[in-house]
Subunit: 162 residues, 2 copies
């Protein structure tokens, strides 16, 4: 068995695809660490801030929120499959560190505006006291652009301009 | 803020929904632990064995395979969204322990038959030397059946009869 690493470093096309995947999706799968440090996968809605960083709005009653408050390490799988084989559609796994933004923070007002622009129905619960925002700092990513198109993106690659 | 736990123990309806979600989906999100014990989310195809346990067929060249060989703890998010808000569709997070089934094992022949019945195109790569099967032992699960319908399932709940 050949052991050639099939993963390439990011090129402009890979960066453009990354920005497109993040910008087009409204939902993603989040992986967190549960109270036994066991991985835990859940569905989340998300929006982006002006620097293309994912923003979550989640309830403290949810498992994933408890996990992120205890350990900020998480992973976001982004890429909404179209027709046909989902494994043939581009998708990206972004390794992140979640930063809680309390409701009292001035920034929370900006995040609420951005989040509701992307998810208008979230206005129903955005002000509930158990909900809070997390901003995901993107540390590195694995982009799968289809067969034979695997790329690794660094934190610098993922630092999109506002 | 009330701190009532909104999660219920499984009832027959919850068990039936769990079996339906596992049986209907062909793809899921897998959460593994990467080489830094950071959670990592990726897309996988899966089938079920006769005891309704998820079966993966993955390449040793993939990140998630390397992760599972190093640490078998993983989580599978199952539930394919239909039209409308994905958060309104039922889905389940199953906490699992992955068991590698080597190609030489007699059981691998049975798993291949089951997997190809669900994913006929996997015949193209099932015999590649870098591919192997994992059977996911289900340890517990969080079922989200829609608003106000959250259930916790134990390992005993998830021990479906063959």
């Amino acid at each position: 068995m050949a052991s050639i690493d099939p993963v390439r470093t990011a090129d402009p096309e890979a960066l453009a695809l990354t920005k497109r995947l993040l910008s087009e999706a409204r939902f993603a799968t989040l992986a967190t660490l549960d109270d036994k440090a066991h991985p835990f996968a859940s569905l989340v809605s998300f929006a982006l801030d002006r620097a293309t960083r994912p923003i979550l709005l989640v309830s403290r009653l949810s498992g994933h929120t408890k996990h992120l408050l205890a350990d900020p390490r998480c992973s976001l799988l982004v890429g909404e499959p179209g027709k046909g084989d989902p494994l043939a559609h581009p998708r990206i796994t972004v390794q992140c560190r979640a930063e809680a933004i309390p409701k009292e923070a001035d920034e929370s007002v900006i995040l609420k505006t951005l989040f509701l622009a992307r998810h208008p129905k979230a206005a129903l619960y955005a002000d509930f006291p158990d909900f809070l925002f997390f901003r995901l700092q993107m540390l590195d990513a694995s982009l799968n652009g289809g067969f034979g198109k695997a790329f690794h993106l660094t934190e610098a690659d993922l630092a999109f301009r506002p």
